[in-house]
Amino acid sequence: MVIRSVIIAGLLTCLMVSLYGQTDEPTVYVSVFSTKLFVVGAANPQTGMFFQKPSEDTVWHHTGAKNIRANALAVFPGVNGRIRYTASGNGLHRTRDGGRSWKITTGWRITEIWAVALDRTDSMNVFIGTAYGIYKSTDMGDTWKQVFTGFVSCVIVDRFDPSILYAATEIGLYKSTDRGETWKRTGLSIDRTRTVTQHPKDPLTLLAGTENHGIYASSNGGKTWEKREAGIDHATFYTIAYDPRDPSIVYAGGYATGVYRSTDGGTSWKRTCQGFEIEHIHSIAVDPVHPNRVYAGTMGAGVYRSDDKGETWRAVGLPGAQVGRIVIER
């Protein structure tokens, strides 16, 4: 009788943990640009958007169009992944029903999209960065207006004030204060910028990654910048990610870098590359629920995961993939 009670109690506990875990578990989305086997026009391994729950470990599910060389993605927060975008050479793919149906929202005038950014206060506002400039939509991508000319790698919307945007471009780091209508170069003197990230709690603090010139930080919304060199032995950074719960912890990755981690908000850095098959890192995302858990997208070896705040890493699937972007949403 006692044994039976213990078994039943155990099973109930497992069930509750399991249920709790499922509801609490975020979804990890990644965009796969290419794989080692990619050949234009041929029968290629699947690329595009993939997703998983962290508990699925190495299992990924494909969604949307195949073979689209997906460079980036965005997920509108708070709606269970119902609204998602995949940015590709083919155009901007959009779903509004959680992936059941997709539409390319752009036409022939827009191509080679490398970044997509959403206004988290208004799902209608979408911004894309392309090889030809920045385009703005106020109707979820049904119509577009070009607002910037130049090669753009990254666009972000200010988390606290959606009228402010930043863009990392081949001709410098730019800022808009009027919802993307006009753009001015920030005080960063480096031309070829690759990524920009905003502090999750301090809107004026920014970190920028550059091609060949390392990492720069601004504490006044981009007016002035300082190079962050302590502990850094590499020069090209494609991605920088704050821990959303503890912004003193920051991760950065780029060409041959492995992952750099800072525990003082980006002032000094320590490199870790234990476990990586390839040390080219193109995207990093921190799990908002389990901050020990960090994902890194590589250029050619799929997705890696750390469960100890970036100390050690292991491959968790999509082998051979060049992973453009990782987004984790509840």
């Binding site: 169009a65 689209i68 022939w108 090669f151 080219h280």
Partner: protein, 589 residues
């Protein structure tokens, strides 16, 4: 049996022939006879089998296979699938109609990132949307309705045609890629229901063929090329363009697929079968332009660089082309520099010959992520490896195609000067020359490398020395001098008389390299006594008069004339003219 089949094919074709063209009729019949006997899963084989009535059941099985592999997709598939379908649909069972339709729902027809990709993609999309009008967004791979797809495709195709007729193609004059423009235009011309689109597709075919014809010699596509595979560069008669010349120009005489020495890299490249099935007929004037070599002539063109997306100041800088055409050889050149990524072929002399590898040229094998980043949006530091994955030789020091910022040319009729100024520390600090082993003679005398290929004579005078490396089909001349140059003189028995006379005439030339070390410039008096002066910085002078490349027309020569930006291209032959006016979609004879 064979004759009966040929007669049947002729009958089928005869019913759709737009105008009499005996050369085309005989060759298209022969081509369809060959292609319809193939058994590969190819849209061209399928169309040939069905249209000749040779093997309907086999064709249906192949088409079924073509619609099954859901991993396959993309622009090559989009236009060729709808093309095969439209050429054969009246003979197909209902089940296959449905499968082809579903392919445009279930497969991702990726648009790609080059001009030829977009032409194929939008041609496929246009015809598919036209074929299945009024269908909803959920029935198309891209979530757009039939009307949205049709409009987008029509807009872009119109845009491309206008661009090609005013500032030129980016992927211009390519022996390899011409097939990816001609085939979609043949399908579009055949099946577009809008009479304006149909006519403009026909005008594009006229333009593409006329552009080829002006630099054509016995099946060879002469002159500089935007993009070309190395196999086609060193063996010009093995290029896909030769198949088109065979079918439409009636040259060369031999059947490319039967000749191991000229066989295309992909035997299955039967795209010309769509041409054989189609109703487009080459205007006789264009065939005359392609084949009348009674007088040598200079032909210049202005094309454009493909979209420069970074590390440049102009989106589509002009490309200046100079070609000298005779009945025995073509000497042609692009003006130099990075004009196209990866596969540029800057200059060569190609001679009429019954032998393979009938060409001589030099190049600097340049490779860098920076060059690729000008044209491709991917990460700069990965681009070279990425390109190597499917073009295989991009970073090779031995490659035979290259666009180099360290190469400049200056051509005056049958004399060419090429200058090299390679930066210290470059990946491949040398220049290479291609010399086929099957030349009748190759010798060195008084600083000249002297070559004879039948009745064609070629002399190259390197400014600085190199060494010979023996390879399978050629000798490779390699110089490790970073600053170098090559004077090229080409002649022929018809122009110069004997081989000895040609060699003797070289003694009358004068080369002054006294300023070469300081300003990388030289002066040269050629065999005709013309004084040429050329500096790497771009100064080009003939008899003291500066040559401005900007004076080149869009087309300028005895056969083709057009002012850049006008949208009007005039062909001339023996007092007759034919003008393509892309502004009004009119053809004036």
């Amino acid at each position: 049996m064979k004759l009966l089949l040929l007669a049947a094919v002729c009958f089928v074709l005869g019913s759709c022939t737009a105008q009499d063209d005996p050369v085309f009729d005989v060759r298209s019949s022969r081509l369809l006879e060959v292609v319809s006997a193939e058994n590969e899963v190819s849209p061209y084989v399928i169309a040939a089998k069905v249209r000749t009535g040779r093997d309907l059941a086999g064709a249906c099985l192949l088409l079924d296979s073509l619609t099954r592999d859901r991993a396959m997709g993309g622009m090559f598939y989009a236009y060729s699938l709808i093309g095969a379908y439209l050429f054969t649909r009246d003979a197909l069972p209902d089940s296959l109609h449905a499968k082809v339709r579903l392919a445009f729902r279930d497969r991702t027809m990726y648009r790609g990132d080059t001009e030829n990709h977009w032409v194929m993609y939008y041609t496929g999309l246009y015809l598919a949307a036209q074929t299945w009008p009024g269908e909803g967004r959920d029935t198309w791979f891209n979530g757009k309705s039939s009307e949205e797809n049709f409009q987008e495709a029509a807009e872009w195709l119109g845009h491309w045609m206008t661009t090609s007729a005013t500032i030129g193609q980016g992927e211009f004059d390519s022996p390899t890629y011409i097939t990816t423009f001609l085939t979609p235009m043949i399908v579009l011309h055949e099946f577009a229901e809008d009479p304006v689109m149909k006519k403009r597709a026909g005008m594009m075919l006229d333009l593409l063929f006329a552009d080829f014809a002006a630099e054509h010699l016995e099946g060879n596509y002469g002159g500089g090329h935007s993009r070309d595979y190395p196999e086609d560069i060193i063996n010009p008669l093995g290029a896909p363009s030769t198949m088109w010349a065979w079918l439409y120009f009636g040259k060369p005489e031999f059947e490319q697929w039967e000749e191991a020495r000229f066989r295309p890299r992909n035997r299955g490249g039967w795209e010309t079968a769509f041409g054989a099935l189609g109703s487009y007929r080459l205007p006789p004037m264009i065939r005359s332009i392609a084949t009348d070599r009674s007088e040598p002539y200079v032909h210049t063109e202005t094309k454009r660089v493909r979209n420069v997306i970074r590390l440049g100041t102009e989106k589509n800088p002009p490309v200046y082309k100079y070609t000298y055409v005779t009945s025995d050889y073509i000497l042609g050149s692009l003006h130099g520099g990075i004009l196209q990524p990866i596969q540029q072929h800057t200059w060569d002399v190609t001679f009429a010959s019954g032998r393979p590898n009938n060409t001589i040229f030099t190049l600097h094998p340049y490779a860098s992520g920076k060059e690729l980043a000008m044209f491709f949006p991917e990460e700069i530091k990965f681009l070279a490896d990425e390109v190597d994955r499917y073009h295989l030789v991009y970073t090779s020091p031995d490659k035979w195609n290259s666009s180099s910022p360290y190469e400049r040319t200056f051509q005056h009729r049958n004399t060419l000067i090429v200058l090299y100024n390679i930066k210290e520390g470059e990946m491949h600090p040398h220049i290479d020359g291609f010399f086929p082993k099957n030349l009748d003679e190759r010798m060195e005398s008084a600083g000249w490398i002297l070559c004879r290929a039948g009745k064609v004579y070629v002399a190259l005078h390197p400014v600085r020395r190199g060494q010979w490396i023996e390879e399978t089909v050629n000798w490779r001349w390699r110089s490790h001098q970073l600053k170098n140059g090559v004077i090229v003189e080409v002649g022929s028995e018809r122009e110069d008389g004997s081989w000895e006379a040609f060699r003797t005439s070289l003694a009358t030339t004068r080369l002054d390299t006294s300023a070469f070390n300081t300003t990388l410039s030289l002066s040269y008096r050629n065999r005709q006594g013309v004084d040429l002066r050329f500096s790497f910085d771009g100064t080009r002078m003939v008899n003291g008069k500066e040559i401005h490349l900007t004076d080149y027309g869009f087309f300028e020569g005895p056969f083709l004339q057009s002012e850049r930006g006008s949208g009007r291209i005039t062909m001339r032959y023996k007092g007759r003219s034919r003008t393509l006016d892309f502004n009004t979609t009119e053809i004036m004879e």
